[in-house]
């Protein structure tokens, strides 16, 4: 067999660009968002952009477990919490050790403050931040391995309860930790504490605060892009197909030589790694994290994104994450569809007409959504009620309606681009899986 694979082996100089181009694109994309888009949408807009990005990382990483592998995990916020606390403590106490204070020591790419920034692109502080987020991801991944182990024996509701329990254990343990050390007060005992000992002072129920903020649009969306690349590559590979086969039928998967145990645990580890990174970005957005906010409610929010997007659809989960992050904010003061909403709707309608001319469902849905939106605004204005009072009710109603209309989620197990005609999917012909022309029979 190895001799037959050899002839398919690409030369390194063709393989390397193919392996790395998404990374380059990710950097450019993130820089574009940070330098060009973020300054134009205001502080609140940039904040929403960061929140949507973090939601995308969380939802797509949970897709690996709930969507691909078919395990039902509702403890994703626990991994996020672990990653967040790890990153926050490392940056906080690390800043103190490295620089002697808790101020921002990053470069331009991490600058969240007001006003123009003068200084280099990257500095030592950014290094600390990146390492902290990576450590957060690794700690979460280790926890993912531990949580993955019971999934060998449990499935369905039973596994859900275990993961729920895990999330709660993380929250309760963190809330029981000693107070955050006020290092500025030159506490006499402080010098004796080693760095790992410092890291256990997580602030308990008050949460952890005061860490310098580094998570900008750039870092968050760079992580988003890299996460998407990794997860989509996973889905398209034999690794991803093995995960999907476990979801479809465990007995048949085992009969195909798939080591179910190993794949389930690895799915948890892989998923937790990115959730941990998302937690780190979340914590260092303003330098504050509170385990109480990352309880099971948060886990459910992420599960909803995954289910809404379609179990197994990475692009669906990402889209759902953006919609569900923006919707509650938009409902505070629902803007009129005129003119930009209608322009957007027209574009979507044109795309639907182009790619699925015979299907009426998507078009009717689009018209329905627009009509409902305007009707809601009109009704509220007429009755003199403030929609923002009812925004969570409307949000919940929207979820119910979507799940009734599309029980399989927005895209089912497929991706957005799977709905494009075959001839449009130009990257398929050059993708890694296509055999070269004239390959031996």
């Amino acid at each position: 067999m190895t001799s037959t694979t050899k002839q398919f082996r690409p030369a390194l100089w063709t393989a390397l660009p193919r392996a790395l181009w998404p990374v380059a694109v990710s950097v450019v994309f993130a820089a574009l968002l940070y330098f060009w888009v973020a300054p134009r949408i205001g502080g609140f807009g940039a904040d929403l952009l960061v929140n949507s990005g973090i939601a995308i990382i969380l939802a797509t990483s949970l897709t690996v477990v709930n969507g691909f592998t078919g395990q039902f995990s509702i403890g994703h916020a626990g991994f996020m919490s672990l990653g967040g606390y790890t990153a926050a403590t490392i940056v906080y106490y690390g800043s103190y050790r490295l620089f002697g204070d808790f101020d921002f020591h990053g470069g331009l790419l991490s600058w969240t403050g007001a006003g123009a920034f003068v200084g280099p692109l990257l500095t030592k502080g950014d290094g600390l931040f990146v390492i902290a987020c990576l450590c957060g991801a690794i700690v979460a991944a280790i926890a993912g391995w531990i949580v993955g182990l019971p999934s060998l024996r449990l499935r369905g509701d039973y596994l859900a309860i275990v993961t729920l329990g895990f999330g709660e254990i993380v929250r309760v343990i963190i809330q029981g930790t000693p107070d955050q050390l006020d290092v500025t007060s030159t506490d006499p005992g402080l010098g004796d504490l080693s760095f790992p000992q410092l890291l256990t002072h997580l602030g308990g129920a008050l949460g952890f605060s005061g860490a310098p903020a580094y998570s900008t649009v750039f870092w968050v969306w760079l992580t988003v892009a890299l996460t998407l690349v990794a997860i989509i590559r996973l889905k398209q590979s034999s690794y991803g197909r093995a995960l999907l086969s476990v979801r479809e039928d465990e007995i048949a998967a085992a009969a195909m030589g798939v080591n179910i145990t190993k794949y389930k645990v690895r799915a948890f580890v892989f998923s937790a790694f990115f959730a941990g990174a998302a937690g780190g970005l979340y914590a260092l957005k303003v330098g504050t994290i509170n385990a109480g906010e990352l309880a099971f409610q948060k886990s459910f929010d992420i599960v909803i994104m995954v289910v809404l997007g379609g179990l197994g659809s990475v692009s669906g989960a990402a889209l759902a994450a953006v919609i569900l992050t923006l919707l509650p904010e938009l409902l505070r003061d629902p803007p009129s569809l005129w003119p930009w909403g209608l322009v957007g709707a027209a574009i979507v309608a044109a795309l639907i007409g182009l790619f699925a001319p015979r299907k009426r469902g998507p078009l009717l849905t689009l018209v329905g959504v627009c009509a409902a939106w305007e009707l809601m605004r009109w009704g509220a204005a007429r009755a003199g009620i403030s929609l923002s009072d009812y925004r969570m009710v409307i949000y919940a109603l929207a979820l119910i309606v979507i799940m009734c209309v599309r029980p399989q989620g927005l895209f089912g197990v497929r991706e957005i681009w799977d709905y494009l005609p075959q001839s449009w999917q130009f990257w398929r012909s050059t993708s890694a899986i296509a055999a070269p022309a004239g390959a031996p029979a």
């Binding site: 067999m1 037959t4 694979t5 050899k6 398919f8 082996r9 690409p10 030369a11 390194l12 393989a15 193919r18 392996a19 990794a230 590559r233 996973l234 590979s237 034999s238 690794y239 991803g240 197909r241 093995a242 999907l244 086969s245 479809e248 039928d249 007995i251 048949a252 998967a253 085992a254 009969a255 195909m256 030589g257 798939v258 080591n259 179910i260 690895r266 892989f270 197994g312 197990v413 890694a432 899986i433 296509a434 055999a435 070269p436 390959a439 029979a441």
Partner: protein
Amino acid sequence: MSDALLEVENVSIAFGGLKAVQNFNLSLPPGSLYGLIGPNGAGKTTAFNLLTGVYRPDAGVVRLGGRRVNGKRPYKIARAGLARTFQNIRLFGELSVLDNVRVGCQMRHPHGLWSTVLRSPGYVAAERAIHHHSLELLEIFGLQDQSLQQAKNLPYGNQRRLEIARAVATGPKVLLLDEPAAGMNPREKIELMNLIRFIREKFSLAILLIEHDMTLVMNVCEQITVLDHGEIIARGSPTEIQSNPKVIEAYLGQPDA
């Protein structure tokens, strides 16, 4: 004895008080095509599950190519070269026809998580080989035109064929077919017979099949084992089995009881 590819010695299993399979013996030489028949509930599928590791036998030994495989986990037995299909079709319904076969193929082209995420040259080579090999198999099984359809949307007969294709894709030495002709019409059954004979030659497999369709069994199998109430009641060539009074009794009951 040692030249048999699959060697089963006195394998037994009981579920509580029910002795589902007792003292099951079988010796499958390379390239052979054997049948396993018996009335409903005789323990045929249980025997398959014992061979493939879905159940652990209470007693007895299963050897594949001279190495003990009983007690091993199903995926290890599959990797050792024992592939199977299922009585109630177990395809990966949401996946495409091509992906179903690819899942079978990839066992022989392993690569790690890192090389997957980084798309290393080794990964690309393995994926290409899997893709290439899968397309070949789909063509052999006449499924190339449906390769991008979801498996659950295939007609029944094609689902059965796809299951066989997926099993063959694992590159087995021995193939176990559990009622491959169930639900097929007469024309499909004839095609299936030819297909079974063809893949045995093409992939030099030893095949053991469970089947209720006697025309098919009598036509393709060289040797038949008959199970009833978990025990072997007869063994022999198709003609011998057809005239065996014990077999007739098991299927039709005793005359003038």
